[in-house]
Symmetry: C3
Amino acid sequence: MIKKWTITTDSRDQFFEITDKIKVTVLEAGVESGIALVYCPHTTAGITINENADPDVKADMLRRLDELYPWEDPKDLHGEGNTAAHMKASTVGSSAKVIIHEGTPLLGTWQGVYFCEFDGPRNRTFYVKII
Amino acid sequence: MIKKWTITTDSRDQFFEITDKIKVTVLEAGVESGIALVYCPHTTAGITINENADPDVKADMLRRLDELYPWEDPKDLHGEGNTAAHMKASTVGSSAKVIIHEGTPLLGTWQGVYFCEFDGPRNRTFYVKII
Amino acid sequence: MIKKWTITTDSRDQFFEITDKIKVTVLEAGVESGIALVYCPHTTAGITINENADPDVKADMLRRLDELYPWEDPKDLHGEGNTAAHMKASTVGSSAKVIIHEGTPLLGTWQGVYFCEFDGPRNRTFYVKII
């Protein structure tokens, strides 16, 4: 079973929480035990699992990623000027895997699943594949 | 089949090798062919696969990660002061996947599987899900 | 089903595109729906999914990774002198997951799958496991 989701991000860099969408998909699939692969088909965005309690963590992480991969870099050759977004995408990765246990995603107490926007705002797509 | 493991880490930053625990789990599962998903349910720790021959590699990697993501950063907003650990967690990722082939994990000659502690020492948990 | 591929890389750092090899493997497997796990058994190389349209993106990314993880670092203890390659490997990760949908890999318009060489040139191996 595969489900395609569409979201609209709000800014250039954003951790857009999709935990509830994963839960809904797993529930719809009716699978007791397995894995949910959350997949981002874009090259300037990614998926990560991290803290969903204090929003300051997200703000700190986006700021630190931006310091690590500055948007403006005179050495970049790529004409679109978004090499930093490609770097961030490969750093967090294009997918995340969640264990399905007793019919529900097995996440840690503080874990949330995030669609990571690095070149927004845009309409974006992601897939949840249940196996 | 899913197995939950508990470990105790020794320092703030540590690559704690769990290769043997993965092997034991795969053996117990009695699966000839498949995938083992090694999953970390914490947000200040992760899982990576890297060299297990020379311990200097681990020391170098932890030092370089610390230089990249300094523990103290006056711009961080997060009150717990462990934003660096969250950064490291999303960089290495929350899970690793290992191929099971002929009843055993198919790892490269120099590969080991590591639980990456970034905010220890602590009691920690990880899961191995066999599919 | 598992397939082992062998490639020869051309330089120390290289994004070697393997998208076609993934497609061939999926076709050979004859699987309508599932997941392809692309796995790198080396510790100084990795797998990532990123843009395959403008080659400048690859050049920029390799240059930025090299700035982030300089090859020469007097603090490194590891005798082989390739700690930077190990860092890059854990940053991009040792595997990538691709959804198989209607008999073919479900990749985004601009996505390609890359074997990431960080300590070449060398003969290298990777696996594609279909589940």
